[in-house]
Symmetry: C2
């Protein structure tokens, strides 16, 4: 048996693996904030050194933004590309964290031991599950079972601006038989999953300007139009009373579920009242004629991620502000066209601006949704390997998040992707107190060992 | 002649008076921010010392908040109470100031010399016009022409929380024949004014909470209700398409203008296109069936003074926030009842909250509108005195701002108030780069000398 000694070594090496992950988690590699540029660089260096310690030919590769880490090991059998990202989300509001986000620690909870810290689940903990599986395999067998290319990105949380040019420039080097992407979750704690449906993402970050300066509301109030009122009207008009998004053409390219997928989802034990109740909510907010799973996996959305304008400090200031700003994101599905939707949104927004108002847009990015082709036999092998490791049978699922990398791999490198990850819904991956269950970390490594075995024998 | 030598001394002493004002402007007495508590105290001390130098029996008087300054001089004839406030507005956004807000300076502009700095117009520069008139009078005649009580408050920009209890506790000491309040403006640069109609103010500062923590919009987006969306809907629903405020009962107690006032206002040379055009706006925003002067002087309003929620830093964060917050203010007129309107607003807001959402209110203050009784002969005397000083005839006008002090004087001390000030519309009193025209400062002092003369001969 080639697999059993690798699994045993992963079990006995778990503490050391946890310490290695802690070293990586201590590096505050927040990609969206220029203040952390050197830290992103340090995280890349750390990964290069760690891969080199496994015998991987690894190097840091410059981009216009944060660097990529690329590594190669040669071998027979299928050529796999493994992708993860070493950058993490911002940590604010910092006062809601129970500890320093970059001083990771183990905590005992009613779900068992968890690793607490920014990036523990998204995505440093996840990417290290694969690295640790490779480390154990190499230690037991002297080499990996097949040719593997490693690709670690440092801008995933910033919309991956350097990724497309990097894939284009290095297409030959990076094209493999199939990609493995570890940035998704379990379906639930006992049910592993391969995500085959991903929503796309379109962001809009903009400021509306009305008066040329802040005004005193006593002097101008009632006569001068308030940009916050204009912005509120714009945002309020984006959805109708049934939760449907009102932009003309928005639903072009939104597919209906196939009967097979609809039946499979109905069979999944998804309790939306518990899902919402766990975060203090009661009512589903999306389109009223869609099931909760459709709302998060297969329907497009519009959310306001941030809003600001006027006086926000302590006490009162009767100001009529010059500006109001918002950050919006649309989750896209099917063949919805990000460019067409951006155009429709901007046309709508500008139609709502009073004469004399202006708008300044700060964003230009968007990515379409992805759908994997599960006909590739690797999917079935990986699904079975996951079922062997976890208590319940593995499932093909959708995901509300956007991981455009799978679309880029298909489009630019002609490569299918298997999205396999071990996060849980309550990992708080973009919130304070992010965590990764020790079970996810441990069984994640073991899952990858099983998948490597399944794909190469 | 008692007046002429006083006017001459005010002319020759102008530079020294300006330097005294600069000393006061250098004290950053921002009352709304606890960080400036010691500075508010220092401004009160400065005023006590300055009044004492005029022979006024002045002292700093503690309150639950920032101190009052009270001073007395005895004399024959009418007993006047003069009111001003030594606290100033916050200065943010600081980066929009062309200089340190608390390092005042003279600047030459196309309107002549101006005094630049926070508080120059609102209200330190204005209150010093009266103090300087008293200084010159005392210097020329050895004493003031009548009994005068000085009352300087340090919480006007914070809604005057200590004022009512202070007036109640010291009613006998503070009650005079008439109050003079210097915190308003000219009608226009050549036209002085007595403000006889003031809007009231009701503030609401609140936070809506939905999810118990920030959520990842990829995981929850579409299913979890977003508090910013809820807040936008609440704010957007406050006004209808014609600019009318939709709260039930909101217009109860809003009077129509008398024919006389309507005729007088139509005679005023108010060009709303220029008024709005000067601040980069084109369209009036208020009730479409009301004239622009009605919109700012005699109609109630609702403005959002601040809004915040979610991620507002650089770049993107696909967060579905737990909270969204806003600060609103309503300007009130006639006999609108602040308590009834607050209740109507909160009923409306809470009716819009999805099941499971909560709201936390941080405000409890409100003041009704005021209307002065111009039958008191002091009004006519002061109006004529103003007409003597300025190029054009003085007018009785309305004011969009809220100066509840006049209402308190009437209600608690049975005293009429004359609101006379020399600010201009473009003083940017709650904005960056606040200024006070040197002409306002100089002719303001001279106006008070004339008014003192008119009221005592």
């Amino acid at each position: 048996m080639t697999l059993d000694p690798v699994l045993s070594r992963l079990d006995s090496d778990l503490s050391a693996a946890t310490n290695r992950l802690f070293d990586l988690l201590r590096i505050p590699s927040v990609s969206t904030d220029p203040a952390y540029k050197a830290d992103c660089d340090a995280a890349a260096d750390w990964l290069v050194a760690d891969l080199q310690s496994l015998g991987v030919d690894a190097s840091k590769r410059p981009t216009a933004g944060h660097p990529m880490v690329v590594g190669h090991v040669e071998g027979d059998g299928p050529h796999l590309l493994f992708y993860g990202h070493y950058d993490v989300q911002p940590v604010d509001p910092l006062d809601l964290w129970d500890r320093d986000p970059f001083d990771p620690a183990l905590e005992e909870t009613d779900q068992g031991t968890v690793i607490r810290g920014r990036g523990s689940s998204d995505d440093k903990g996840q990417l290290m599950t694969f690295v640790e599986a490779c480390r154990a395999w190499t230690a037991e067998h002297g080499s990996l079972p097949c040719r593997i290319t490693f690709l670690f990105e440092g801008e995933e949380e910033s919309g991956s601006p350097s990724l497309v040019p990097f894939l284009e420039e290095n297409a030959e080097e990076l094209t493999a038989d199939i990609a493995l992407i570890c940035d998704t979750g379990l379906f639930e704690s006992k049910v592993p999953a391969i995500t085959t449906m991903l929503r796309g993402l379109l962001g809009e970050d903009f400021t509306i300007t009305g008066p040329s300066r802040d005004l005193h509301s006593g002097m101008y109030g009632g006569l001068a139009m308030n940009p916050i009122r204009v912005l509120s009207n714009i945002l309020a008009g984006l959805q109708d009373d049934t939760g449907r998004i009102t932009l003309p053409g928005f639903y072009d390219g939104v597919p209906e579920l196939s009967d097979a997928i609809r039946a499979q989802w109905q069979g999944l034990n998804f309790d939306h009242e518990t899902f919402l109740g766990d975060v203090g909510l009661k009512e589903p907010a999306g389109e009223q004629d869609r099931t909760p799973l459709e709302q998060i996996w297969s329907r497009p959305t519009c959310d306001v991620n941030g809003i600001w304008g006027g006086y926000t400090g302590d006490g009162f200031k009767t100001v009529l502000p010059s500006e109001a700003s918002a950050k919006l994101s649309f989750r896209l599905v099917g063949t919805q066209d990000p460019d067409a939707i951006r155009k429709s949104f901007r046309t709508y927004l500008e139609s709502k601006l009073p004469d004399g108002f202006t708008v300044d847009y700060r964003t230009e990015k968007g990515s379409a949704a992805s759908q994997m082709s599960v006909e590739n036999p690797a999917f079935e092998k990986a699904l079975n390997a996951l079922s062997d490791e976890w208590p319940d049978k593995a499932a093909y699922i959708g995901c509300g998040g956007s991981i455009p990398i799978a679309g880029y791999f298909k489009e630019l490198l002609g490569m299918d992707s298997m999205l396999i990850g071990f996060g849980r819904d309550d990992d708080q991956i973009h919130s304070p107190n992010e965590k990764y269950n020790m079970e996810s970390f441990h069984k994640g490594m073991r899952s990858w060992a099983r998948i490597l075995d399944a794909l190469t024998t």
